[in-house]
Subunit: 448 residues, 2 copies
Amino acid sequence: MDPIVIVGGDAAGMSAASKLKRERPEREVIVFEKGAYVSYAACGMPYFVKGAVDSLDDLVTITPEAFVEERGIDLRLHHEVVGIDPEEHAVVVEGPDGRTTQSYDQLLVATGAHAVVPPFDGMDLDGVFTMHSLPEADAVRDYLASAEPESVAVVGGGYVGIEMAEAFHAHDVEVHLFEMLPHVMAPFGETVADHVEEHLREQGVDLHLNTAVERFVGDDRVAGVDVGDRVFDADLALVGVGVAPNTDLAESAGIELGETGAIATDAYGRTSRSGVFAAGDCAEARHVVTGEPDHVPLALTANRAGRAIGQTMAGDETPVGDIAGTAVVKAFDLTAARTGVIDEERAREAGFDPVSVTITASSRAHYYPGAEELTITLLGDRDTGRVLGATMVGREGVAKRIDTVAVALHEGATAEQLSYYDLAYAPPYSPVWDPVLTAAKVLDGNVG
Amino acid sequence: MDPIVIVGGDAAGMSAASKLKRERPEREVIVFEKGAYVSYAACGMPYFVKGAVDSLDDLVTITPEAFVEERGIDLRLHHEVVGIDPEEHAVVVEGPDGRTTQSYDQLLVATGAHAVVPPFDGMDLDGVFTMHSLPEADAVRDYLASAEPESVAVVGGGYVGIEMAEAFHAHDVEVHLFEMLPHVMAPFGETVADHVEEHLREQGVDLHLNTAVERFVGDDRVAGVDVGDRVFDADLALVGVGVAPNTDLAESAGIELGETGAIATDAYGRTSRSGVFAAGDCAEARHVVTGEPDHVPLALTANRAGRAIGQTMAGDETPVGDIAGTAVVKAFDLTAARTGVIDEERAREAGFDPVSVTITASSRAHYYPGAEELTITLLGDRDTGRVLGATMVGREGVAKRIDTVAVALHEGATAEQLSYYDLAYAPPYSPVWDPVLTAAKVLDGNVG
């Protein structure tokens, strides 16, 4: 039997390979990875740049050697798959020793995503970085140490931009954050954005909203950011304006993409071509609230889908699972979190009649030291009362509180049901009515 | 129309009164409270004794004056209801001006619970306390200040005992904790107990397990604790061996009690006598896992049931809601939490075939500063895979993580479903696979 072939050795690919070998140790599993790293914690890179994590090695969960020796995976680094022939069940691979063809029994496309490179002049200047791989993180930290920048420009106010602003700020440099939209962190909604923006300014970040960068200026090295009517000094620039799925390989093999632009998949991660699966940042997944395909490139989705596909390839059909778009971001001393559908326009498109409530409550018993204000927005459907999504922001107790709502979304719970959950209470951790329950009560009074 | 009468002015009673007046401002609502305080945060008392909370006033959420003036409730402090005549729809009340009779249209019995007083000799010595009311908390703090004890005995290793051990320890006194069972915190199971016991000892608490106190010794003041084969010095003793529901009033009126000894109620908080409701620490509630009546006297249950009954009395029938027995306790630097059914024997009695798994995982990404080990035990039913309960213990990230499982219990989720929830991930808050997901995956591999 031909081997099972996996394209890409990050979260989805290595999860699939590991699960497959655990279930079927006798099966030959080849992973082609074009880079030098596998299974690394990309989300940890801002903390490496910040200095909170000492070494890039700390971000490598499992070494390539361990995958080969302990898990029996035929892992080939520096091998890029450049073509798929779904009819012949074969891939074309370019490696250090040239081009070869490898036939497969089943194939997993786990090609990931790439940082969007905006069409600015000056993207090629020294000191201008995107951040989507360990070598890039390493280069940023090196440049910080060697060039000793006084002023850093962060372009883009999403996750990466916010986390990198914090990272640079820790090095005592002036930080400018440029966002072309009226608010940072669009997927978290305006209430969260208001809190995060105020906090960034308190921390001393120079926040430039509604500000489109036109180009970077400088000779060999970046020296400034031109926003049209003004040029800001910048000795280092970090561009984080989003990621896009790596779909060229799949597309050229005639594998269908979905409306989001990522690879279309069914509930088991199967693509439009027989024997070919896709998972991770390159693939769509089904949203638990809308029931529609969506593209939310996050680590858990990739790991979970990879693992499930590994199990399916091993002969035990296993769904990849729905996503709720649950996410959490640390923004200096604030935590911002979201789950589900929180945009009213999008809720209407999905056929709901959205009602939104926002409450503030204490993270702990009001009298307990360290209690902080939490702000929760809950979105529900007016007719059915079903909870559609939530955002939260505050200084503590946010990250895992959002999970309560995430579970409610998976279970299709109404605001009334959510308000009746028996959640944990003790003064150091929560008011008697957890803020989530309070928000649910208020939403329940506005729906149904 | 006769007024609505509420017996007891704590969480359940005042929640009901407040909700009722909000919905039906024209209705006359009389609350009889035998003490001087209403609606206070009993759970905060250990932190008042510890000194983390300055004043008892901080624990009073809403003052009696506010209930009267802002909410229009006819609150009568120092009035004890000594009899109920369900046939005549009347209560007999003893107040400062003598005995009166008050007729009612509907009645809520919210008489709460009391601290169990064990039959020790020496319970009447100065310096021996139980802790179930603000005056008691006040007396303990006064005694600490005036008697300057060198050694304190805490009798009972439940919530109150553990929290009070922490409180006394903060005053630099020697703390002895006596528990007659082999482990502290029985409702949290052995795994949690092992961690808490080790941590208490690390903190310098003298832990005496399997040790039944026989009597307190001393002349006027307590001087020691006699455990049969030895007497330990103690200048102050705090007895926290449990609470029991206050049911005498209800029982003498012919209101049925349940098997737990608390007042039996239906899904709306109705007792066996027409027009009489019961809620809070004196009443049973239905357990969401077993479907059977249970008695778990906790603050949220009381508040929620009181509020629901207030709404029902106002004409809008509202269920009091099921309980999952979710609880969390701070034990010095550890947090211990539980939800659902975690005792295998009890699970079997409820008709399940229990399977239990225990995992340890990191509270944050392994490389992120401050990551701590979390231990989770999940109990599931072998045949159906349904999750029955969970415990957690660790130094951070425990309190609100238990809620994820609590929601799963309310929704009757299986281990597989729990393992598929899209929970929040970012390195400062969680590993990619949240520890709850990891535990669910392991449980899923052992059921079904």
